[in-house]
């Protein structure tokens, strides 16, 4: 499965990156392809292109705040969870993509 994800937390210092790391490692271990965009204190990094999003089979928002440039995902089914869930149970979050 091709997955794209966005992570974002209130201060953008720690949890954004913890969640990104967890999602990446877990998806790879499960044999999925994944690209995670972080929206933290440094702004948007590893930005998802329109092509990335278009090609994705599943979209995960692991966020506690509003996602920037949300319109890029119009028409996509998005699984949105709190950042903590992605850190605590990344497998479960990925499973929700179906």
């Amino acid at each position: 499965m091709r997955i794209v994800a966005v992570t974002a937390c209130p201060t953008g210092i720690a949890h954004t990156y913890m969640a990104a790391e967890k999602l990446e490692k877990t998806a790879q271990a499960l044999g999925h392809q994944i690209k995670v965009e972080t929206q933290g204190a440094m702004g948007i990094e590893n930005e998802l292109s329109t092509a990335d999003i278009k090609a994705a089979d599943g979209v995960i928002f692991a966020v506690d705040i509003t996602v920037e440039q949300r319109e890029r995902f119009d028409g996509k089914r998005v699984v949105q969870v709190p950042v903590q869930d992605a850190i605590k149970d990344p497998k479960g979050v990925i499973a929700r993509l179906g």
Binding site: H15, M42, D64, Q84, K88
Partner: protein, 837 residues
């Protein structure tokens, strides 16, 4: 038969001394026996005794009765019932807040609240620090030791002695009452009523019957009644103890003569001294080995008592409510002047919190002792002396122990105050000589008398002035009182024979004044030389720059002056025309006003251009934000309170003069004070490493999340990375409030963006017992990694490091190593290496 009048008690503050004395005044006019009964407390009292009335502990709306029995009972009942529903209801002020402050008020660390802090009183911080000891109440009626065991004459004789003393006190009070208005008059009336109170008289009679002297009887009787008041439920009543003690004090003075006047208590164990007011003399008489804190009702921020307390590093609160001052002597007390609170009920958790606080202070002191022993030099080699301000010879030795490189200002006013005649030459010489000896070759600047309408001294008759700060003070009275000033110059010249002493004259506004002072100065030297008295050969003559006009004729003043020192407190207030003691304009009083900075630059430039030494001895020297500007301005010396010397030396040694000069340039270009303040708060991000072994705590004994976060903040404070630990703590908590940073597996990453950081920082705590953190998996946290970044750091370098660390901590192999490592240096190495890989 008896008549009864029932009523609900009408006054909001209850039946305290003042309304009781109003009631007693009316009741006294009748012969009938009149009893006051409170049906809530079940207490009854003779209504002709203020003390007994007060002892009924009557509060607002209590069901009460008055019982009248005797010949004029009908008239009495009628009259008093009318009084109670009429004038009596208007005889007291509305209720002022009497409850102790609540811990939910702003500004207290969460960890302290979580430790169980519930009851405390607030005060204004006059001298920072924390101290703990047994409460000693000055103002409590204490008999001089010699009189305690004195044998009494017969009871009638002692009673007569008491009556004579009571009559004399009554006479004094009545005379004061003639001149008093408003609240003061009401208080005096209450005191008068207490004095003629039958309950007090009965108690005195009983005490003299049992073989006590009149003085001993007064002490015992006051204590009996004070004990009743202290048990009252109303804080307002409890604080009436002060009125009672005041009467006791007055009686003792009459009974024992001036020698029997209240004596300063002897401190035999760590003590916190409570007093409505404390004279500088009383403070100096206290044994400072045991004095851990001062809690004062009245004392201005600039009073000499407060200046002394600061200089000795005694934590001091002022403006404390009378309720707090009515503490039971001997109560274990914590004064936290830095947070502005005094605690007289100490739960175990709060004790533990303050034990940690003390441990932190000793760690900070240890890190500063290194710098204290050496002359202060900036990182790029600029020498700047850090000296101490003192106002008594006793303060010199402790200041030098802190690392003071000289005395930058010895205010001599204290020598002249609280006495009926000026100190003679010998007495002054002894004081100045003591300071010069303590200095052991280091420079000492002694300022000649600066008194005037605002600091009256009994032997100089100054007429009252409308505006004493713009009035007859400092050098302005030197011509009229030239003999007094010359005596001081003589004593100074003689002390200068013992070491490098410099003389400085205050409040000079024009060249004529400088010349007048200089004439007296050289006159004194000529006298000494003519009579062959040993004195310093060359004593530098300096001027204190406090009046703005002097700053603009510095070139002319150089003709008379060898050096200058800027008194920023007065110079700021005169330059900005704002009295910092006036809350309405205190915000205008700021030494960071760009105009003021430009003035300072001009003074320093002019002084340097003529080769004059220039120092600064006002409170600006103690402003950590302003200190880089002072280095940038090029002062030869800054002088501040002794206890601040070590920390200041350590801070200056971290600065680079070149950076300070650049910062000054920027500050001088600012348009407003706020811009300057912002600039200073946002100093360049320190290049200190993110993590050092001193920021790692292994085997930490923390029981709660609050304790752990506080311990992390303490690490930063000891490492010199924050000076506002309580604010940093709150910022970390604000993040925890959104959701816990405990992300499972025994790890947590508390973090914050903060304006209260000197440098971006990682700190690592390893807990001995595991801490309940509210983690997602419900497991206790074994390792907490604090990520703290400056709010104004717009660079991404450290954010990237934090992002990388965040990715690392969710990896099992990284976590396992974190858990296993027990050596701070090895752990630091491991984390930094992982971050760089």
């Amino acid at each position: 038969m008896a008549l009864e009048h029932s009523f609900l008690f009408p006054l909001p503050n209850g039946l305290h001394a003042r309304p009781a004395s109003h009631l007693e005044e009316i009741v006294r006019g009748f012969t009938a026996a009149i009893t006051f009964a409170n049906d809530r407390t079940g207490r009854t009292a003779n209504a002709k005794s203020v003390l007994a009335l007060v002892g009924t502990d009557t509060r607002h709306s209590d069901p009460c009765r008055l019982v009248f029995q005797g010949a004029d009972e009908a008239a009495a009942c009628l009259r008093i019932a009318r009084f109670l529903s009429g004038p009596f209801t208007a005889c007291d002020e509305p209720l002022v807040s009497e409850s102790p402050a609540s811990p939910d008020e702003m500004g207290l660390p969460r960890s302290l609240k979580a430790a169980g802090l519930q009851r405390f009183h607030r005060g204004g911080c006059a001298s920072r620090g924390v101290g703990q000891g047994r409460a000693v109440v000055i103002g409590a009626v204490v008999l001089p030791t010699v009189l305690r065991t004195q044998k009494a004459g017969d009871a009638a004789h002692e009673r007569a002695a008491f009556c004579t003393a009571a009559a004399a006190v009554q006479n004094d009070l009545e005379r004061s009452l003639d001149l008093a208005h408003g609240t003061e008059a009401a208080v005096l009336k209450a005191h008068l009523a207490l004095l003629r109170d039958p309950a007090l008289a009965e108690q005195i009679a009983a005490q003299t019957e049992s073989g006590r002297t009149a003085a001993q009887a007064v002490v015992a009787a006051i204590e009996v009644h004070a004990a009743i008041l202290r048990q009252a439920e109303s804080a307002y009543l409890r604080e009436r103890v002060i009125d009672l003690e005041d009467i006791g004090q007055r009686l003792l003075e009459k009974l024992c003569g001036p020698g029997g006047a209240p004596q300063t208590p002897t401190l035999a164990e760590p003590a916190v001294v409570f007093a409505e007011a404390l004279t500088p003399g009383q403070l100096l008489a206290l044994d400072r080995r045991h004095l851990r804190g001062l809690v004062l009702g009245h004392a201005g921020q600039t009073s000499h008592t407060v200046i002394l307390a600061r200089s000795f590093g005694i934590p001091t609160l002022t403006g404390v409510a009378p309720t707090a001052l009515a503490v039971l002597p001997g109560t274990d007390t914590i004064v936290d002047a830095s947070l502005g609170i005094v605690i007289t009920e100490i739960p175990p958790g709060v004790q533990r919190w303050y034990d940690c606080e003390q441990a932190k202070f000793s760690r900070i002191a240890q890190t500063q002792t290194g710098a204290a022993a050496h002359p202060t030099v900036t990182r790029d080699g600029r020498r700047i002396e850090v000296a101490a301000n003192i106002s008594s010879a006793e303060e010199a030795a402790p200041a030098f122990a802190q690392g003071a490189e000289g005395i930058g200002l010895f205010r001599t006013e204290l020598l002249f105050m609280d006495r009926s005649e000026a100190p003679g030459e010998e007495e002054q010489y002894a004081q100045y000589a003591a300071v010069v000896r303590a200095a052991a070759g280091r420079p000492v600047i002694i300022r000649t008398l600066d008194i005037g309408g605002d600091k009256p001294v009994p032997f100089l008759k100054f007429a009252p002035e409308n505006n004493p700060f713009l009035g007859y003070r400092g050098v302005r009275f030197y011509t009229e009182h030239s003999a007094l000033v010359k005596t001081q110059f003589r004593a100074l010249f003689r002390a200068a024979a013992l070491g490098p002493l410099k003389v400085m004259v205050p409040m000079v506004a024009c060249l004529e004044e400088a010349r007048t002072a200089k004439r007296l100065f050289t006159g004194a030297q000529q006298e000494l030389a003519a009579t062959g008295v040993a004195h310093g050969p060359e004593v530098p003559f300096g001027l204190m720059i406090e009046v703005p006009a002097a700053a603009f004729i510095l070139d002319e003043l150089c003709a008379e002056a060898d050096f200058f020192s800027i008194g920023t407190n007065d110079l700021t207030q005169y330059f900005l025309a704002a009295d910092r003691g006036n809350p309405k304009v205190a915000n205008l009083y700021s030494s960071l006003h760009p105009g003021f900075l430009r003035l300072l630059r001009q003074i320093v430039t002019d002084a340097k251009a003529r080769g004059r030494w220039i120092g600064l001895c006002g409170e600006m020297a103690d402003d950590v934000l302003a200190q880089p500007l002072l280095v940038g301005l090029g002062f030869d010396e800054i002088s501040l309170a002794g206890p601040r010397v070590a920390a200041t030396k350590a801070a200056l040694a971290q600065m680079a003069a070149a950076d300070c000069a650049a910062l000054l340039d920027q500050a001088l270009r600012c348009a407003t004070r706020d811009e300057v303040a912002q600039l200073l708060a946002g100093r360049p991000v320190s290049t200190a490493p993110l993590l050092t072994p001193e920021l790692v705590a292994i085997d930490l004994d923390c029981r709660t999340k609050e304790e752990a976060i506080r311990a992390a903040v303490d690490l930063l404070q000891v490492a010199g990375r924050t000076t506002k630990p309580e604010l940093l703590e709150e910022e970390i908590w604000l993040r925890e409030d959104t959701y816990s940073t405990g992300f499972g597996g025994g790890l947590a990453v508390p973090h914050c963006k903060s304006a209260h950081l000197a440098a971006n920082t990682i700190a690592i705590l390893k807990s001995r017992q595991g801490i309940e953190w509210g983690s997602v998996d419900g497991q206790p946290v074994r390792v907490a990694i604090l990520l703290a970044i400056r709010g104004d750091d717009h660079g991404k370098e450290h954010l990237k490091v934090f992002a990388k660390l965040s990715r690392l901590v969710v990896r099992d192999e990284f976590r396992d190593r974190l858990m296993a490592e027990t050596d701070p240096a090895a752990l630091t190495d491991f984390v930094l290496t992982s971050l760089n890989s």
